[in-house]
Structure formats: structure tokens, C-alpha cells
């Protein structure tokens, strides 16, 4: 890999200035590399992170048809990666005007990585550096433990889609303004349940707290409690008891194994925990990327289009640009294009916000005509989409903004594909133009790993009991055996999985109605590498 030429770098710096001028925010430093086909061969299995740890599966063509993206939270062919500095990859024969377009696209991605709150946990360290450290660690372990390192990686990766990404995020987003646990307990539990006081007394205590905060600033809470302990001597004991009895923080399967697996915690196997930790943190790192695919690509497309058209350096290439841009951002007649969809949503939101459609007044309107012609000329569109880029993920984005107006405006529909047996053709047809259906179709296409939690009540006598909360879809059955084999290895004992399986009684009928599906709860048990299935 080579860095781009100084001349091209100068173009990039020019793009940065222009991008900053319209409000994009990103760190100063970026790295741009020219990659060859050979580089790509090595990079793509490593999800474009050059320093990712080595693993034999990277050398094999992985069958991705089944479940495809469900297996991999990362987006393997991204042109820019979320590192510090951000690294982006280029074909070496791109003409300058094309580079300008790509640079804007890349800068918008970087802006998204560094400002969208779902990426909060990736802001504090550089993945490239971390990955390099992990790679060295794994190489060292491999020299000591040989192929067993690869087994541990394999088994850990088998459950790396069950990481509690949102849980991890929520600890980071716990705002400073929140009350301390002590305060919460005092007002929410102690004064209401353990030592109930009258409303006026309650209000008096609140007032006392506020007063203390005003007088002593940061020390306010401390001084408040000094006072309160004098008043309610039993408080400290009650609080401690409450803390002790509180449940431990819920953890995902990988973290649980790291903390509680008897096998991993035995002296000679402690090294395995660091492998699990690497796999877990790598997975969590990539989680927001796949959960913001539509937004991220939409945002980048919005900006490369907007900024390219304003750029004075590329006059004369408008037609070439239009051609490339159309191929990237055109809405396909059938099929989904995250670039086109996301970009149109951002334009749509901007326009709506300019008119003031996200205001209380607008929402209170009942008259369609009034709604249609509502225009307060607020001019807040830009500001609003910056806010959206900061606070939303694909699901919330689609959930909040895909409405009938959007669907109609862009002539969107749910396309169906069916077999015409007479003509032996696949027929594509317009299935529905309702926003709800369209939205649901999008939801169904989103990445969504199953929710599998540890059932502590049933985990008795060294058995690890997992419970799958069914969400309308069964698990891929063929994968259960090997995944459980891995968990059994990491746990060092019997593992059970409770899940639901559906049977469809078609009875030779073409149409399948929900009534024809019968769900049954089943339990898989992996014991000494033998799988057993029981219908409950």
C-alpha cells in the first residue's frame, strides 16, 4: 500500500476546507492509500483493517449466501475505515474529478463516524493500533498454544454477534447530569417505600437538596447527605443493603463466559480469556457500522453530491460526475439501494424541516390540504439533518421518517416476486404502496441478531442454559450444532439452548397463512460434543 501522491493529497485538503465550511466536523488528520488488487485480496477478508489479527478463515472463501450479513456485523468493502486517523483506500487510476467526489464521500463518512452517537465507544482509541496489539497478542499465544488459539477464536466468533452493543453504549451515554445511585435510592426508594414521608416533607427534602447544590456546587450532594444521615441514621445501612442485593449488570454471552466460565478461569486456560476479549471488542467495534448502513451511505451521498456541485475546481466534469453519481444514487426499479434511499431521506427531511413539518403546530393539523401547503420557511433543514446524523441509527431513522409523504414523493413501493408457472418466469410486481408496508419491508431487511440470554434460574449444576427470545423467526438450524459445540468448549460443561421452531403445514396449498405455522418450543443440549434435541 502506498500513500496517494502529494498532488492528490492537496486536492483532499481542499475538500476538507470546503466540507468544514458547510458544517461537517472531523479530525484534521486522515490517511489515504492507493491499493492494488493484491492488496484488496488481503484486505477484504480482514474487513479492510490492515492490522487485524490473522485467522485461517480469512484464507478461505466463506460461504455467505446463507444469512450473509447476519453473520458479519462489519461491512467488508468499505472505502474508509473508522480509525484514528481515518484511513481510506483508492484505486490508483482514478481521475482527479472522481477523487474529488470520493473524497467528499469519504469525509462525510468520517464526519458520521466521529459524530454519530452510536459510534461513541469508538472515539477514545484507534482501532488500527488496538488491532495491531491484538494481532501481536494472538501471534504470541499461537506460538505458545498452537492451533488451540484458532479453536478459541473460532468458538468465540461463533457467538460474537450476540454481544450487547447497546448495553455497552448505554454505560458511555450515562450523562453526567444524572443523579447518583445514592440520590436515586434516597428519593425513589427510601423516602417512598422504606421510610415513607408526607408529600410536603418530601418536597422539603428536595428543596434542601437544591439549596445544598446551589450553596456548595459540586460538593452539594455530599453536604446534603451529611445532613440527611443525621436525620435518618438508618439510611446508610439501608443503602448498602440495597446495593448489595442489586442484580449484577447483565452481560452478554461472551462477557459472561469471560467472567464466569469455570474452564476459562482455570489457571492453564486464562490466556483464552484475552482471545475472547479481543473477539468481543472487535465485534462491538463494528456493530454501529452495520446498524447505520443506510444513514451512513445516505449521508455520504448527500454530501458528495452537494459539495461536488459547489466545487469550483472540477468545472467541465459535470457530465462524467452525473453519470457516476447516477449509478451510485439512482433508485433501482426493483431492489434496495442504501445510498439512494438514505440520500433521499436526508433530502426529504431537510425539506420538511425547512417547512417546519417537525413542529408541534404542524402535527396538530388535521387538514391534508393545510399540511400539504404548510411552509413556515424556518430554514432549519440543515441544522435538523445534522441533528439526525448525530442521534439516529438505521432503525430509528427509518422508523421516524419513512412516512406516506416520503413514499409517495419518491414513488416507492414494495416489490414482490412470484413464479408464473404457465410462462415459467419470475414476475416482479407492485405489491404495495403503503408506507407501513414499505417500512416493514425495510425493517425486515435490517441486520438483527437474535436475542439469546442466559437463563440463570435454569442454569443449575454446571449447566449453561440459554434462552432464545423468539421474534417471529427461527434460528438457522444447521448452524446450531457447531455453535453450541463451541460454547460447550468455552464453558467447559453442558450447554442447553431453548428456542422455538416452526413447522409449516402447507398441505399442498400455494399460499401459506399464519395459521398454518405451528410453533413448538425445543431444547438443544450439547453434552460431551453430542447434540440432543428435545421438544418441550
Amino acid at each position: 500500500m502506498e500513500l496517494i501522491s502529494q498532488q492528490t493529497k492537496a486536492i483532499m485538503e481542499g475538500c476538507k476546507e470546503r466540507a468544514r465550511a458547510v458544517g461537517l466536523r472531523f479530525e484534521d488528520e486522515t490517511l489515504e492509500y492507493v491499493v492494488t488488487n493484491r492488496d484488496m485480496l488481503e484486505l477484504t477478508p480482514k474487513v479492510m483493517i490492515p492490522t487485524l489479527y490473522d485467522y485461517w478463515v480469512h484464507d478461505v472463501e466463506v460461504l455467505r449466501e446463507k444469512g450473509k450479513y447476519e453473520l458479519y456485523p462489519s461491512n467488508p468493502y468499505e472505502t474508509v475505515i473508522n480509525t484514528r486517523p481515518a484511513i481510506s483506500f483508492y484505486n490508483d487510476n482514478n481521475p482527479d474529478w472522481l477523487n474529488v467526489m470520493i473524497f467528499y464521500h469519504v469525509l462525510a463518512h468520517i464526519d458520521f463516524f466521529q459524530n454519530n452517537l452510536y459510534f461513541r465507544h469508538t472515539w477514545d482509541y484507534d482501532l488500527a493500533g488496538q488491532a495491531l496489539a491484538d494481532k501481536r497478542l494472538i501471534a504470541r499465544l499461537r506460538s505458545e498454544h498452537g492451533r488451540w488459539v484458532d479453536y478459541v477464536i473460532e468458538f468465540a466468533r461463533g457467538i460474537d454477534n450476540l454481544v450487547d452493543f447497546h448495553g455497552e453504549l448505554s454505560t458511555l451515554h450515562r450523562g453526567k447530569k444524572d443523579c447518583s445511585a445514592r440520590l436515586d435510592f434516597f428519593f425513589d426508594v427510601f423516602l417512598q417505600q422504606q421510610r415513607p414521608v408526607s408529600t410536603s416533607e418530601y418536597m422539603k427534602e428536595v428543596e434542601a437538596y437544591n439549596l445544598a447544590c446551589r450553596d456548595f456546587g459540586d460538593l452539594g450532594e455530599q453536604s446534603f447527605f451529611t445532613e440527611m444521615v443525621r436525620k435518618y441514621p438508618e439510611f446508610e445501612a439501608a443503602f448498602e443493603k440495597h446495593q448489595g442485593g442489586k442484580k449484577q449488570k447483565k452481560s452478554d454471552l461472551l462477557q459472561f463466559l469471560i467472567d464466569h466460565s469455570p474452564m476459562l478461569n482455570s489457571e492453564e486456560n486464562l490466556w483464552m480469556k484475552s482471545v475472547l476479549q479481543v473477539v468481543r471488542s472487535t465485534s462491538i467495534y463494528f456493530q454501529p457500522q452495520i446498524r447505520t448502513k443506510i444513514m451512513n451511505e445516505g449521508w455520504a451521498s448527500y454530501w458528495h453530491e452537494t459539495l461536488f456541485m459547489q466545487d469550483d475546481r472540477i468545472r467541465g466534469h459535470e457530465i462524467s460526475f452525473a453519470r457516476v453519481n447516477a449509478s451510485v444514487t439512482a433508485m433501482p426499479r426493483v431492489g434496495l439501494n442504501p445510498y439512494a434511499l438514505g440520500m433521499r431521506l436526508f433530502y426529504f427531511i431537510e425539506e420538511a424541516a425547512n417547512r417546519g413539518c417537525y413542529t408541534h403546530d404542524y402535527r396538530r393539523l388535521r387538514d391534508m390540504e393545510l399540511k400539504r401547503h404548510y411552509d413556515k420557511k424556518l430554514g432549519k433543514g440543515r441544522e435538523y439533518i445534522f441533528d439526525v446524523r448525530e442521534n439516529y441509527s438505521d432503525f430509528t431513522f427509518l422508523n421516524s421518517f419513512v412516512d406516506q409523504d416520503f413514499v409517495d414523493h419518491n414513488q416507492l413501493f414494495v416489490a414482490g416476486k412470484r413464479l408464473n408457472e404457465e410462462r415459467m418466469t419470475w414476475q416482479y410486481y407492485v405489491k404495495s404502496r403503503h408506507a407501513d408496508d414499505y417500512q416493514q419491508m425495510l425493517f425486515d431487511s435490517l441486520y438483527h441478531p437474535p436475542k439469546i440470554v442466559i437463563d440463570e434460574a435454569k442454569s443449575q449444576e454446571g449447566v449453561l442454559y440459554l434462552n432464545h427470545n423468539i421474534e417471529g423467526k427461527p434460528l438457522v438450524q444447521e448452524y446450531i450444532a457447531n455453535t453450541m459445540l463451541g460454547i460447550e468448549f468455552l464453558w467447559g460443561g453442558t450447554v442447553c439452548l431453548e428456542t422455538s421452531e416452526a413447522e409449516v403445514n402447507t398441505e399442498d396449498k400455494e399460499e401459506v397463512t399464519p395459521e398454518m405455522i405451528s410453533w413448538s418450543r425445543v431444547r438443544y443440549q450439547m453434552k460431551e460434543r453430542k447434540l440432543e434435541r428435545t421438544v418441550l
Partner: protein, 453 residues
């Protein structure tokens, strides 16, 4: 004899009800054996995560053309170790075989694997709705059909033929030889015994075997001395009775005899493989897929075993047999028509006899069928088979049983059993029956059965 005549003759001889049914079904079938044209891929309707920056913006695609076979070796070694450690193997090789018309003998080899996880089964949605749905944009009323795409005609091997579908872009070309090696090593298929007659090939080794007068690499002292004596005898320098005075001998340059590096023909046993495939109407669907997959694997394996010195003939049969030129036609021809196994066997016998192939080759015959035969008793088939066994090194018959029949009850199997040939000619004749739904592992297991000693 075409199938109508045959049918009438069989009817005259009397048919059981089941036979009548089977035959009627195949008589009604008016398909032909053409090689299907590849169809376009259906458009993915809801693939949100497929498009990416590198391909969309920069038109960069990864073509993994340069696959390193050495890596494959390491992978397979690793895979063997997995078994020792008590974990199931993870690398699959089988189904990615796809001979193309342009590159004869080439097969596509991709080591593939799956990283298993707990994931939602998206196929379930489709099952539920009976059809798939996704995004679209543009004009059109609800319910209006906006486009059509032909579905490839049902049935043939191409579907699983390898490498089709989404992964197609990532196929790596290697040759059948590599696949054969992988099969031999990974699946520990038995090696072949050297047997049968030998035949010279256009392969040479170089050795100091030829003699040359005047110059060369190594002086052949004994031969030189002899030549010197001969020359001197002719010159009269030697008296026939008395002592030989070596100092008086004249040595001409041409008397010196050397060994010289020369090209030698090498001899090696050579294989001729007949692939015989039933392509009658009843073979539609999975049965055919299974058979062609197995035959591709056998083909690759033999290619490796005989270091590329393997000749192949491809024979397809319904009621009549036909030889086709290349694997491509063999692999892809559509199913249609009735079934008569004897026709194919007869053709093999004729070909062997005509060119006296049995003198020069180890002959292997692999026959794949679903076990149906209009010749229920095997009256014609068994004699042909006996002839075949008189020269063949191995005849391997695979029966891909339809899931609707009972196992081990097909016509071919029952007349073979009755004939007793399976026991009498155990070394030469092997039969393997499996369900048409079997996967790659069973297919490879089947090969082992067919070719093991």
C-alpha cells in the same frame, strides 16, 4: 429402435402396473436433451448490505483469480487435525466443480467454509409468504406486473453446479488435477493399483542409455575395448593364436564408444474412463445433480491418480445411447425420454471392441442412474454387463434413489442382485445406492465404495 417401437415390444411381452406407470410417464415426456442456456440471476430484492463504496464508487472488485493452492494444502492439513482434536471438519471442497466449455478439463475449486452462529433464518420469511418481497420505485399500480424474467427450465444439474449464484464472482479457477489431489488427500480415497497392459505415452525421461561412437558423456570401456579389438583384427594387427601385445593396437577415434544422454519413452499405466449417465425423463431434478456431481469428482480424482494420463469418454443414454464429446455436454444435457440401460452398456462394449481399448488401458466405467429400467429383468443388460466385466478394471454403478420409492428396490438393483454378479465379480463390479437428497459427504463416501479395493 426408437422408444415407441421399444414400448410396443415391451407391452407385447407384458408389463407390471408399476412399470407401466413409469414407462407411461417417460413416454409422455416430450423434452429434449439440449444443453440449457445459462439464465440470468434473479434480482435480489432486499439486499441492503450488498452495495458498498469500493464497487459503487470506484468500480473495484475483488477477483480472487490468484488462488494459492499451497494455502489449500495447509488448510486441509489443519482440517485433518481438527478431527484428531475431536471437532468436525470445516472445509468443504465438493460442489464447486464446474467444467466450462472453453476450458476443458478445468474445474473450479474453492475451499469454502461457514462460520456458524446463531442467526435468524431469513428463508423462513419466504416460506411464510411463498414469495419474496423487497424495494422498488417508479410507476405502476398496486398489483401491476412490472417485469418478467425467465426461469431456467427445471431440473438439471446446473443448479448446484457449482459456483453459480451469488458467490460466482469469487470463484477461483484451478484445475481438476488439484481437485483430485484434494479429494485423494482429504478424503483418503484409495490409490489405484498399477495393473493392466502398458502403453507408451508421449512422456520421456532422459538417461545415459544410448551408445554413440566418437563422442558422448561417459566412455563405455568394455564396448570400446571390444571395438578396438575388432578394428585391429580387421587390420591384421593381432595374431589369432599368440599373445596380445596391447602396445601395438591402433585406436581410431571412432572406436571409442560413449554412453550418451538420450530421450527415453516412459511407460505408465493409463486409464480410460467411461462415464455413463442415465438422462431419461425420470432423472429430473436432484438425481441428476447428484450423479453429475459425483462424476465430476471421480473424473478429477482419476485425473490426479493417473497424473493427467486419463482419457475419458462420455455416454448418455435414455432408450438409446449417445456418445458426447466433452464434459460440458455430458454435464449439462437435459433429461428426457425413456430408459434402457442395456443400450448404454452395449455402446461401451462396442467402443471398446472396435478400438481394442482393453489391450492398452485400464478401463473404468461409472454409471449413474435412478435405477429405473424398462428392461425390468435385465435380460439385455446382464449379458452386456458380463461382457463389460471381462475387460473392465472396475464398473461402478451409482443409484440415486428417488425419495418417493423404497430403498434398495429399484429395477437395476434387483436384477443385479438376482444375477449374482455382485458377488461373483466383487473385484470388478460395485453398486452403491443412496437417496437423491444426499449431500456431498455421502457422494464422496459413495466414490470410496465404488473404487475401493
Amino acid at each position: 429402435m426408437n422408444r415407441n417401437e421399444l414400448y410396443q415390444r415391451l407391452q407385447a411381452a407384458g408389463l407390471t402396473e408399476r412399470q407401466q406407470q413409469n414407462i407411461a410417464a417417460e413416454m409422455d415426456d416430450c423434452g429434449d436433451h439440449s444443453v440449457p442456456v445459462p439464465r440470468a440471476q434473479p434480482i435480489p430484492l432486499n439486499d441492503l448490505y450488498g452495495p458498498n463504496d469500493l464497487s459503487c464508487l470506484q468500480d473495484m472488485r475483488v477477483n480472487s483469480a490468484s488462488f494459492n493452492i499451497r494455502t489449500l494444502d495447509q488448510l486441509i492439513d489443519r482440517d485433518k487435525l481438527r478431527e484428531l482434536d475431536g471437532f468436525p471438519r470445516k472445509i468443504r471442497i465438493g460442489r464447486m466443480v464446474r467444467p466450462g466449455r472453453n476450458s476443458e478439463g478445468k474445474v473450479v475449486v474453492i475451499p469454502t467454509t461457514v462460520e456458524e452462529k446463531f442467526i435468524h433464518d431469513n428463508r423462513f420469511d419466504q416460506k411464510q409468504e411463498g414469495e419474496s418481497s423487497g424495494g422498488g420505485s417508479g410507476e405502476g399500480e398496486e398489483g401491476e406486473v412490472i417485469g418478467e424474467q425467465p426461469v431456467r427450465p427445471e431440473g438439471e444439474g446446473e443448479g448446484t453446479g457449482a459456483g453459480k449464484g451469488k458467490g460466482a464472482d469469487h470463484d477461483m479457477e484451478s484445475n481438476a488435477y488439484d481437485l483430485g489431489r484434494v479429494l485423494t488427500e482429504k478424503f483418503q480415497l484409495p490409490n489405484l493399483k498399477e495393473k493392466g497392459t502398458k502403453r507408451s505415452l508421449t512422456r520421456y525421461t532422459y538417461d545415459l542409455t544410448d551408445k554413440n561412437r566418437g563422442f558422448g558423456q561417459v566412455l563405455d570401456k568394455k564396448a570400446t575395448l571390444l571395438q578396438v579389438l575388432k578394428t585391429n583384427l580387421a587390420l591384421g594387427n593381432l595374431s589369432p593364436d599368440g599373445e596380445i601385445d596391447t602396445t601395438k593396437l591402433l585406436i581410431a577415434p571412432r572406436d571409442k564408444i560413449y554412453r550418451i544422454l538420450s530421450r527415453e519413452k516412459d511407460y505408465e499405466s493409463q486409464a480410460l474412463v467411461f462415464f455413463v449417465r442415465d438422462y431419461s425423463g425420470s432423472m429430473a431434478g436432484k438425481a441428476t445433480e447428484l450423479i453429475v456431481t459425483q462424476h465430476v469428482l471421480i473424473y478429477s480424482w482419476l485425473l490426479y491418480q493417473y497424473s493427467g494420463q486419463v482419457e475419458t469418454r462420455f455416454i448418455l443414454h435414455d432408450t438409446e445411447a449417445k456418445e458426447v464429446e466433452d464434459f460440458h455436454s455430458y454435464y449439462n444435457s437435459r433429461v428426457a425420454g425413456g430408459t434402457q440401460v442395456a443400450a448404454a452398456y452395449r455402446m461401451v462394449n462396442q467402443l471398446v471392441k472396435k478400438d481394442s481399448l482393453d489391450r492398452d488401458y485400464n478401463i473404468y466405467i461409472f454409471h449413474g442412474t435412478d435405477g429405473d429400467d424398462w428392461d425390468r429383468e435385465g435380460r439385455e443388460t446382464i449379458p452386456e454387463l458380463k461382457t463389460m466385466l471381462s475387460y473392465a478394471s472396475r464398473v461402478g454403478i451409482t443409484i440415486a434413489e428417488h425419495s418417493y420409492g423404497t430403498s434398495g428396490n429399484t429395477e437395476v438393483q434387483s436384477y443385479l442382485n438376482k444375477s449374482g454378479l455382485l458377488d461373483q465379480a466383487r473385484d470388478m463390479l460395485r453398486l452403491d445406492n443412496m437417496s437423491e437428497n444426499e449431500g456431498e459427504d455421502r457422494i464422496i463416501e459413495g466414490i470410496r465404495k465404488l473404487i475401493s479395493e
